[in-house]
């Protein structure tokens, strides 16, 4: 049976063995942290600039005259029935189909 004391003792024994020297110092981490901060600021600034440019471009695109709503539309004049040319060899117009029961 594994007891809690066994686990504690194993951890303590491992700790007593010592450890390799640290490969990093607080100054290294501070330097690295400052670099990360600068990079984040640059990324944020670039993102804000990109967003502002996109908003301006979208505004310009919407404001262009060809994208405005078309003016009043008037229906075209119907052609005069006498002006329709019917070729002489054209087949006769079919009789309109009437619904059953209607005379």
């Amino acid at each position: 049976m594994v007891r809690e004391q066994d686990v504690r003792a194993a951890f303590a024994a491992l700790n007593a063995r010592g450890a390799p020297p640290l490969a990093v110092t607080a100054e290294d981490l501070i330097e690295c942290g400052d670099r990360v901060r600068k990079r984040r600021k640059k990324t944020l600034a670039a993102a804000c600039t990109g967003l502002a440019v996109a908003v301006v471009l979208a505004g310009v695109f919407v404001a262009l005259p060809e994208h405005r709503a078309p003016g009043e539309i008037t229906p075209a004049r119907l052609p005069d029935s006498t002006s329709i040319f019917v070729p002489p060899d054209a087949p006769p117009m079919p009789e309109p189909v009437r619904p059953p029961g209607q005379r």
Binding site: R8, A10, A16, L22, L29, G33
Partner: protein, 170 residues
């Protein structure tokens, strides 16, 4: 622009905690190089979060929480990588400074799932209470109890019933 007061506090915290924190991480991951990487990542997160911290007097528990969560997040991430880090500790102590029973226990601990191992390390190495362990792992006290119990059961299953009869000496 970095804050010189925070830099001084951070340096003092690093000098005070780095060794212990790296050993805790070593117990979690079983590899000195990985432990160093995780410890660096945790200290870097602490450094970046520092100016936003309302209270800076209790940095050690906060740092421990970062270490454990970074370790667990890393273990979740490696599941999806092609290069897999094995659970078995790659650095096996080989000198006579550690007795055989502790060596066996250490190797067995490497096969326990990461979350259960984290509970065992926090409870039996850093001597955190169940509540403190739950806060560090961001889970309930019931989960800590069950994970710790399962961790011990797993060790028991791996080591067999004769382990307790071995002499325990530091």
């Amino acid at each position: 622009m970095s804050d010189p007061i925070w830099n001084a506090e951070f340096s003092a915290c690093f000098d005070r905690c780095a060794g212990g924190m790296r050993f805790t991480t070593y117990l979690l991951c079983g590899d000195w190089h990985e432990a160093e990487d995780l410890m660096q990542a945790a200290f870097l997160k602490l450094y970046l979060a520092g100016p936003r911290l309302a209270r800076r007097e209790g940095l050690e528990p906060y740092l421990r929480r970062i270490v454990v969560r970074t370790f667990l997040a890393e273990r979740r991430r490696v599941r999806w990588r092609r290069e897999r880090v094995t659970d078995a500790p790659p650095e096996v102590p080989q000198d006579a400074a550690i007795s055989e029973d502790k060596l066996v226990l250490w190797q067995a601990l490497g096969t326990v799932p990461p979350r259960q191992r984290a509970v065992l390390v926090l409870r039996y190495w850093t001597d955190l209470s169940v509540e403190e362990t739950a806060a560090a792992l961001k889970c309930s006290t019931g989960t800590v109890k069950s994970q710790g119990s399962r961790g011990l059961v797993a060790l028991r299953r791996i080591l067999g019933p004769d382990f307790a009869d071995l002499p325990v000496e530091v």
